[in-house]
Symmetry: C2
Subunit: 299 residues, 2 copies
């Protein structure tokens, strides 16, 4: 099964009312927002990524989902495979650094052993409070699509890591975007009260924007020339189509009514209209969709 089929099948099970039909990145449990993400060695991180960076990323991807709800992190659970002294210690150091940086305490977890040679599989579950919690399904026709930060840096950082060539300030910045992503918690707090729909960009700008449009029953059009690229990314490749289809940005994507202009906090990149699907333009002219819009898990 691919991920979408599996999630469809899960919808046949008894669902909690806070599950929101499994259509969102986070669930509601009383006054808490709950989210969980798993990272797999060889899939979500490389075997030679520094263990401290893996810890950072595990925390960041989870707290990014809380940021997408405008929530304040309250605590995390860690499911950890014991990996040998050196790896474990470096992981713990990165975990400490990331939890301290994001002001989030540890609530509990579970440790296991893996069979020798098995790829590491790490899970974190994060709890947030005071969520303004706009769902991804709340966009309306006429709403404007905004995105925080810049897009594509982490994808380029992955290429830098794979090539093993990270000399220079630009490639180092891209590598940092891949290895130590910064969840947009404060931006999420400020955008959530005015957003009609919000989510974090984890699998790629195009695929995630299409998901927001589909959940809202709308079409979305993105102006590729409006997508914010960093100076480091422009120097590295500047390929906007690569940027909008790469994963791991952990920026926030939100639909705002046209009278809301969070300048300085986000960049306007598109708009919602009646209809279906994702549409791209460049200099006002329609552009064909790339074959892969982003990252989807397959069995």
């Amino acid at each position: 099964m691919i991920e979408a089929e599996f999630i469809s099948a899960l919808r046949q099970l008894p669902l909690h009312r806070g599950a929101a039909g499994l259509a969102d990145d986070a669930a509601l449990l009383g006054t808490h927002v709950v989210t969980t993400d798993t990272l797999v060695e060889g899939v979500h991180f490389l075997s030679d990524d520094p263990p401290g960076d893996v810890a950072w990323k595990l925390v960041a991807v989870n707290l990014s989902d809380l940021a997408g709800k405008g929530a304040i992190p309250e605590g995390v659970l860690l499911n950890y495979p014991l990996s040998g002294d050196a790896w474990d210690r470096a992981f713990l150091a990165g975990l400490h650094a990331s939890l301290a940086a994001m002001d989030c305490p540890l609530l509990g977890g579970d440790t296991v052993s893996l069979p020798p040679g098995a790829p590491r599989v790490l899970t974190m579950t994060a709890f947030g409070r005071d969520a303004a919690a706009p769902l991804r399904s709340g966009a309306r026709a006429g709403d404007v699509l905004w995105v925080t930060g810049t897009i594509g840096d982490a994808g380029a950082g992955l290429a830098v890591a794979r090539a093993g060539d990270c000399t220079g300030e630009g490639p180092m910045a891209l590598l940092a975007a891949y290895r130590r992503p910064q969840p947009r918690l404060s931006e999420g707090r400020r955008l959530a009260p005015v957003a009609r729909a919000m989510m974090d960009v984890s699998d790629g700008l195009l695929i995630d924007a299409r998901r927001m449009a589909a959940a809202s029953g709308l079409a979305v059009t993105i102006a590729l020339d409006a997508v914010p690229l960093s100076p480091a990314y422009r120097a590295y490749s500047g390929d906007v189509m690569a940027a909008v289809t790469a994963g791991d940005d952990y920026q926030l994507l939100c639909a705002l009514p046209p009278d809301q202009r969070p300048t300085g906090l986000a960049t306007r990149i598109g708009s919602f209209a009646a209809g279906t699907g994702l549409h791209l333009t460049r200099a006002g002219v329609t552009v064909a969709l790339p074959r892969d819009l982003g990252y989807e898990h397959r069995a």
Copy 2:
């Protein structure tokens, strides 16, 4: 690192007040009890265990921790590695059956892909409410140690599964205890209000009883001849030392004041006193501890 070292190191991180110093199987988040457990193929289940039974066990081990708190299950999160159509479908059927049997809805989760050939790693996080929540650290000198159900069946069931010989009613019952454990939710609800300490037995009766005693700053003595064994277990081997050191029982262990006698609900197997450590007797005579008291995760 071994599990205990890793958990010690985690205690140096910023901890949530509901983490109870990471000394318990469950944490408190507002009015909810939270627990999480990971199952690893080749460690916690066998590669040829039926996928539906793996699903059942994943739900059961998590809800058993809620039972240990006397809580009512409210929902679960599932972190699932896509495993191919047949495995996924059989897993979903077992998940549906177990959640329905234990009256617990799905709240959310995450699906991932694993590299080819990687052992499956499955995580579930469970939420409960209305916990009476006695910690494992609350036993007092003079308290009596009680256990629900019978001990050792799942351990013998694992041996039956490994031998591939499950003909006959007895071996089938042992196999069922291993593959489809029943969390003691209703027993937990009834025992929690009168228990001074309570926990589920997951790694083995002896190691878990010693953990309760250590957390309570006491010594515990267990009368081996009082440990309840099932007719199927007596017919299979009857070895009490094997039973009390085997894992996966998912019964409840609790410390009760001497005037509480939950006859019919649990069996009296020992007592707490000032001092430290675990002590065993048989026919009133002290017996040496076995080398391994139960299951501990090692890197």
